[in-house]
């Protein structure tokens, strides 16, 4: 899997963190309206970890996730993906890296309602240029994994909220990502289905070793993660993983 861009010299004693942020800064607007969303954030994300980024709305946690997921470039500071400076990733290479390395789970699902569940799930593979038969096989396998195989042909719009979020997880999984970014994954779900979705995410994290980054203001969800990073006004206030 994308060995060329991701393989980095790894020193046996301390494995290279999958994502390493150093003094990352990001602001929006100009002049008087300038708003600093991130004011120098530094931390390492180890492979296989589950991390909760917690903070109030407007704290900069979504911006941090966007920067970590390479959707946004930091204004200052460095971000390394397995030791590779991400600033060197541009255009098609950047797109490919994002496609192969990351899976996304959003609160708002972002499913195309008029398309079938399977169509929605295989979208990342379609973008990656995977062949039709292979797409179908892997898409169905991902749906099977989330107990949605019988819904494969249904239109996405006809699913319940919990089912939709499971489809989204299937879509995030389908390309065998190394990191799943989940932005308020249970925000739109009732507590029961929310718990089911949480279980699925943590199972993936434990059993498949997929690094899980959850952005949330739900403390209960944050408590289930290995590590909790509290962010306020663009700065890390508390990081439970620093000592570890």
């Amino acid at each position: 899997m994308n060995a060329a861009t991701l393989s980095a010299p790894s020193s046996p004693p301390a494995p290279v963190p999958i994502i390493s942020a150093r003094d990352v800064r990001k602001g929006y607007g100009k002049g008087q309206n300038r708003f600093e969303a991130l004011k120098g954030v530094s931390f390492d994300l180890r492979e296989g970890e589950s991390v909760a980024i917690v903070g109030k709305s407007g704290s900069g946690k979504s911006t941090l996730m966007h920067v970590l997921a390479l959707l946004d470039a930091p204004d200052a500071g460095t971000l390394a993906l397995e030791g590779t400076e991400t600033r060197s990733l541009r255009g098609a290479k950047l797109n490919r890296t994002r496609n192969k390395t990351f899976g996304f789970v959003f609160q708002q699902f972002f499913l195309t309602g008029s398309q079938s569940v399977l169509e929605n799930v295989i979208l990342p593979m379609k973008i990656a240029g995977v062949g039709r038969a292979e797409r179908r096989r892997r898409g169905l396998a991902a749906l099977e994994q989330l107990d949605l195989a019988d819904k494969a042909k249904n239109k996405a719009v006809n699913l319940s909220g919990g089912q939709k979020q499971r489809v989204v997880i299937a879509r995030a999984l389908v390309n065998n990502p190394r990191v799943i970014f989940a932005d308020e994954p249970t925000g739109n779900l009732d507590s029961h289905t929310g718990a089911v979705v949480e279980d699925i995410l943590f199972t993936l994290n434990r059993e498949h070793g997929i690094t899980l980054v959850v952005v949330t203001h739900d403390e209960e969800l944050a408590a289930r993660c290995d590590r909790r990073i509290l962010i306020r006004d663009g700065e890390i206030i508390e990081d439970s993983g620093v000592a570890a």
């Binding site: 797109n95 496609n99 379609k126 973008i127 240029g129």
Partner: protein, 437 residues
């Protein structure tokens, strides 16, 4: 994303908002429909002219007349009244461009023509005027005599072309003479004998019997028109009969001649040949020259009609822009998601331009198909009513090349219209698109 997947996605996206798609396609349809009909009109009329070209003359033949002192080479060439010329004869014209008064050609002129570089053969056009034609003692009708030089053909509704190698007197009768002469139909006329009366220089009338071997359809630019076409044997006999009593030195007078040149001659070669003819005191007119005026007028009309169709298409293209802008607006999140998942801007651009192109394809294909059905129906109806006097004319005809061109042109217009919304989609920032409040 693979290109095939991109195309498939674009096509399936097109059908997502069906009402909007349908309305956009309708707008394109109107343009494509009009364009197809107008260009079909041009194709139909020009094809008809092309069909009748061989009736006017072979493509490697040129009608040559002797240039009169002040009679110009063509339209607009005459200025003021012409001076009397005792040598002038009326040219019993072959096709358009003939007619008028020209200076008669003598056998010497023919020899001179034959000696001009590039001329491979010379054939004098014998001008014959008969008194009447009659069948089986019936009513007498005035008739002209045309001639069919080698390379010319006529559109026959029955029978065959006259045989120039036989001694028997044969002729082809124009279709308008079939019923007046007492035949039930064209087939009935073939094989019958008619009498042709001709008066010689001594005012003495001669009657010559000839066999009808074919019946010619009337065509726009046919050599016969309402003239009979005799074979060589009959032509010679009629010519000799007409010239009985003419002083020997006046017999061989021809209004015009036909010269042949190399079949592979280029336009430049033909122009050079015309210059050499002009230097020798002759005016040469090719079939292309004669047809040219017709075609130019029709092309001009079709061009104006096409311009209207293009205007309709331009209006439709704004519809495409609008539709796609709405589509981009609606699918902001989807675009953002695809970009977050690693879809490049170029591919997003392609996806939306392909959608526009596909809309253009649907609209134009629909327009073209329906226009072809309507056009064919219309031609069929008109051919039996309004245009019944012009057999062989299909008013609206379609040729695959112009149909394909129309579809392609509409697709290109649609693509261009789609670039604006597609560029907006391609520019979309995934973070911005995925933000929700």
């Amino acid at each position: 994303m693979k290109t095939t997947d991109l195309i498939a996605s674009a096509i399936s996206n097109t059908f997502r908002s069906k009402t909007r798609m349908l309305l956009t396609i309708l707008a394109i349809f109107v343009g494509a429909f009009t364009l197809t009909l107008t260009s079909g009109l041009g194709t139909g009329i020009n094809a008809y002219i092309d069909d009748t070209v061989s009736g006017i003359g072979a493509s490697n033949a040129m009608t040559v007349t002797k240039t009169s002192a002040d009679a110009g080479a063509g339209f607009g060439g005459d200025s003021g009244p012409a001076e009397y010329d005792p040598d002038a004869v009326s040219a019993g014209g072959v096709g358009p461009g003939g007619g008028g008064t020209v200076t008669a050609m003598t056998p010497d002129d023919l020899d001179e023509l034959a000696s001009i570089e590039g001329v491979t053969d010379v054939h004098a056009t014998k001008s014959i005027s008969t008194d009447f034609i009659q069948h089986d003692g019936g009513t007498k009708y005035v008739v002209g005599v045309g001639s069919l030089v080698p390379g010319q053909t006529t559109q026959l509704s029955a029978g065959v072309d006259p045989d120039d190698d036989t001694d028997a007197y044969e002729l082809v009768l124009p279709t308008s003479y079939v019923e007046p002469l007492g035949f039930s139909d064209a087939e009935d006329a073939v094989g019958a004998t008619v009498s042709i009366a001709i008066t010689d220089a001594n005012r003495e009338q001669h009657v010559i019997e000839a066999t009808i071997v074919g019946v010619a359809e009337e065509a726009l630019a046919s050599p016969n028109g309402t003239s009979i076409i005799p074979n060589d044997a009959l032509t010679d006999t009629l010519f000799e009969t007409q010239n009985i009593g003419v002083p020997a030195d006046q017999v061989d007078r021809y209004a015009q001649a036909t010269v042949w040149f190399d079949e592979d001659a280029s336009d430049d070669d033909i122009a050079a040949l015309k210059d050499r003819l002009a230097d020798a005191g002759f005016t040469g007119t090719t079939v292309a020259d004669q047809i040219g005026a017709f075609t130019t007028v029709i092309d001009g009309i079709v061009l104006v009609l096409n311009a209207f169709a293009i205007i309709a298409l331009l209006a439709a293209s704004f519809g495409i822009v609008n539709t796609l802008f709405m589509s981009v607006q609606e699918r902001t999140r989807e675009i953002g998601l695809m970009k977050a998942m690693g879809m490049g801007s170029g591919r997003v651009f392609s996806l939306f331009s392909l959608e526009a192109t596909f809309l253009g394809f649907l609209g134009s294909a629909l327009g073209v198909v329906i226009a072809m059905i309507v056009g064919t129906g219309l031609s069929a109806v008109l051919a039996d009513s309004l245009l019944a006097d012009l057999p062989g004319l299909t008013l609206i005809a379609f040729d695959p090349v112009s149909i394909a061109t129309i579809i392609l042109v509409v697709m290109v217009i649609a693509f261009l219209a789609g670039t604006l919304p597609a560029a907006r989609a391609a520019k979309a920032d995934p973070v911005e698109s995925l933000r929700y409040e």
